[in-house]
């Protein structure tokens, strides 16, 4: 049987705007994926721990406070340290254009700003998982 894609949607840091995270969580679920949403104010440590427990393929981080560079670097580092280097990270929120390349350089697979279609994110996640399975 084909295994469902498992996604963790997480709100790292102190930012409390979660409607974007919730909409994406629901869209991924409606597309047949298994989605865990962490709720607000998660530390990088708890996010990585949840990713481990839930054995997810992908983590989607929602950040609107401007703390994205610090938070993404820490989460990627912790994933590697915990043997979860295979887990991909995507980011949604308010990310200045110049920071997108910085995030991609440290290993973030995709960055989605305001106005992104839900379908775009769903397709991106599917392709990411497919590519990994083929690799």
């Amino acid at each position: 049987m084909k295994k469902n894609i498992r996604v963790l949607i997480a709100k790292p840091g102190l930012d409390g705007h979660e409607s974007g995270a919730k909409v994406i969580a629901r869209a991924l679920r409606d597309a047949g994926m298994e989605v865990v949403y962490t709720g607000l104010r998660q530390t990088p440590e708890t996010i990585v721990q949840t990713a481990l427990q839930e054995s997810v393929d992908i983590i989607g981080l929602s950040i609107l406070s401007g703390a994205h560079n610090e938070l993404c670097s820490r989460i990627l580092k912790l994933l590697n340290e915990n043997g979860l280097g295979e887990v991909s990270i995507i980011v949604g929120g308010i990310i200045p254009r110049e920071d997108i390349s910085i995030l991609k350089e440290v290993g973030v697979k995709g960055v989605f700003g305001p106005g992104t279609k839900m379908e775009t994110v769903v397709e991106f996640v599917k392709n990411l998982v497919k590519k990994k399975a083929q690799a």
Binding site: I9, K11, G13, L14, D15, G16, H17, E18, S19, K22, V23, A25, R26, A27, R29, V35, Y37, T38, G39, L40, R41, T43, S65, G66, A67, N69, E70, L71, I94, P96, R97, G113, P114, G115, K117, M118, E119
Partner: protein
């Protein structure tokens, strides 16, 4: 006040109503049918913009709640009593506004919500704003400060000075406000879980500047509800948070007559997916809860209501929003009159204030946002609101620049001062469409209000996740409409540019965190440690009286702690130990 019950409500006699029905039928079957017959008659076909069919099978309001007719006629207001239901400005039921003369004796202030980085960078911005004519500055605080955490707390890493300014001790506030005209400038914050501390900080700031705190004009949002229903910056369980917030109400009502202690902000609920009618119904339920919390402290509704307001959003549907503002004033007047058994105009006249829909601004082609906010501001003014904050066009990209924030602010002044929009009170009053929509919104909002009351009121609605569930539904529905193209967003799903021109956006102060934590350590070394410990022990003692159910007001103890240069993290650390933290129901 006119509350008499007349036999016939509407403005027309039955003969006229019959005539209208006949005329409407004639028009539908004549000109309308002719126009939509499938081919364009010569008198219409000269322009390429004229289509053979209506663009939608059904036209609905922006929030989706109401179907809109092709035209509105006297029949749509035939059951409305122009005296009882609409009335006069400044009188029950306040449909036409709270001020008898509308905007004829009114001037829009230049009000800014601003702050970022450390006290140095914010200090400069505030001086620039005052030089540009600012009469009010609301301090935007960073997330750690809003949550009562010091800048060197592990959760604060990467967040210091990002969405606002970092304030840890009185020293930070003294620096940031240094040299500003405190006796004439309105100041405040929109932080909601640290209300008593903000009161204490501004109070102590006045003292440090040799001013009687009564001379300051301070406005605090101090609205815990907002944080459980959209912004997420909560700390304590809702009951505790509301009790702490109403300590501020009590203290200001007793000792600080010119200060504004609290307002309920429904903007984030609206942005998070509420409809216009939900925003009205939920907002009124929230406000009732605040008035009753103040009553428990011995403050009468006539003392507190004039100092409160409902801070709403102005969304995209121009007419639905105008009608919403008229409906919310009328529903409040009726609800408060029943609830508090009064006809006191101080209680029944609701002040409605606005932060226009920042959620409708797009990151794509940000200059388009100037047009959007102009429509939002115009709808707010035509709806008779009393204060408007306008987001800048670049806010979907970053914090606003000095230029963009000033431009946004001037929208209301240009409309008021140059476009004659304030010449008469409630200029759309009596419009068949507006009056009809006002009625529909009021009715639907009343249902939502009743639902919240049936759950046990606003606190219960939050604890049960009721608001969040409704919002999540609305948000998902909206996003699906945009994705499918059913709802147009220019630059996002219509007239999309392949390659967008770059614009200049605000660059943050990347050194703020380091400077801020250095200064914090300095303060910790150089203050009177015994005094700090004594003050914190007193905060703990008062908090414990609350936990034991015989709550003293927390403000005096907090004021002592602030004067002793205790940090925000120390003070709220004590409260966290006593009250615990809120654990929300996670809803997606």
């Amino acid at each position: 006040m006119s509350k008499r019950k007349s036999k016939r409500k509407g403005p027309y006699n039955s003969e006229f109503v019959e005539r209208c029905k006949i005329e409407l039928k004639r028009w539908e079957e004549g000109p309308v049918k002719d126009r939509l017959c499938g081919e364009l008659k010569p008198q219409f076909s000269a322009y390429s913009s004229v289509l053979t069919e209506e663009t939608r099978a059904e036209f609905r309001t922006g929030s989706g709640d109401f179907s809109i007719k092709r035209v509105y006629t006297p029949l749509d207001i035939a059951d409305i009593d122009p005296i009882e239901d609409i009335g006069f400005p400044g009188e029950y039921p306040y449909t036409r506004g709270r001020d008898p003369v509308g905007y004829r004796a009114f001037q829009w202030p230049l009000n800014f919500y601003s702050g970022f980085g450390s006290s140095e960078s914010a200090h400069k911005r505030y001086h620039d704003l005052v030089a540009a004519g600012a009469t009010e500055i609301l301090l935007a605080l960073d997330l750690p400060t809003q949550l009562g955490l010091d800048s060197d707390h592990s959760l604060a890493e990467g967040e210091v000075g990002k969405v606002g300014l970092a304030l840890n001790t009185l020293d930070d506030l003294e620096r940031v406000m240094d040299g500003l005209p405190l006796a004439s400038l309105h100041i405040g914050t929109i932080a909601n879980c640290i209300g008593p501390w903000m009161l204490a900080m501004f109070h102590a700031l006045g003292e440090a500047n040799h001013l009687d705190p009564k001379q300051l004009r301070v406005r605090l949002q101090n609205d815990p509800f907002k944080e459980y229903t959209g912004r997420g910056t909560y700390v304590f369980p809702p009951g505790v948070a509301i009790d702490l917030a109403s300590d501020v109400v009590e203290y200001m009502c007793k000792y600080l007559p010119g200060w504004e202690p609290q307002y309920n902000c429904t903007t984030t609920m609206r942005w998070g997916g509420c409809t216009a009618a939900q925003e009205v119904g939920f907002g009124i339920a929230n406000l009732i809860c605040y008035v009753e919390a103040a009553q428990r402290k011995g403050i009468k509704p006539e003392e507190v209501v004039p100092r409160l307001n409902l801070h709403m959003s102005t969304d995209n549907d121009f007419f639905e929003e105008i009608s919403k503002f008229r409906a919310v004033r009328r529903l409040w007047a009726k609800t408060a009159s029943e609830r508090f058994k009064t006809d006191d105009p101080r209680i029944l006249g609701l002040r409605v204030t606005i932060f226009t829909a920042a959620n409708r601004l797009t990151a794509q082609e940000p200059f388009n946002n100037i047009i959007r906010t102009t429509a939002h501001v115009l709808a707010s003014i035509l709806g008779g609101v009393e204060y408007i904050a306008v987001p800048a066009h670049d806010e979907a990209l970053a914090l606003p620049t000095f230029e963009s924030t000033r431009l946004a602010n001037l929208t209301k002044n240009i409309l008021h001062d140059e476009c004659f929009v304030g010449s008469t009170a409630d200029p759309l009053g009596g419009s068949y469409f507006i009056e009809s929509l006002t009625n529909q919104i009021e009715e639907k909002a009343r249902d939502w209000y009743d639902k919240v009351e049936a759950l046990g009121g606003a606190v219960a609605a939050i604890e049960k996740g009721f608001y969040l569930k409704e919002m999540a539904e609305g948000m998902y529905r909206y996003q699906k409409e945009v994705d499918s193209g059913e709802r147009t967003v220019i630059g996002v799903n219509r007239f999309v540019l392949e390659k967008e021109p770059a614009i200049n956006i605000f660059k943050g102060d990347r050194e703020a965190e380091r400077r801020q934590t250095e200064r914090l350590n300095n303060i910790r070394q150089n203050r009177d440690k015994a005094q700090v410990e004594k003050a914190l022990a007193e905060v703990r003692r008062v908090a414990n009286t609350k936990a034991a159910g015989k709550g003293e007001n927390i403000v005096p103890s907090m004021l002592e702690a602030v004067r002793a240069y205790a940090t925000v993290g120390e003070i709220f650390g004590v409260l966290r130990e006593v009250f615990g933290e809120f654990q929300p129901v996670v809803i997606t």
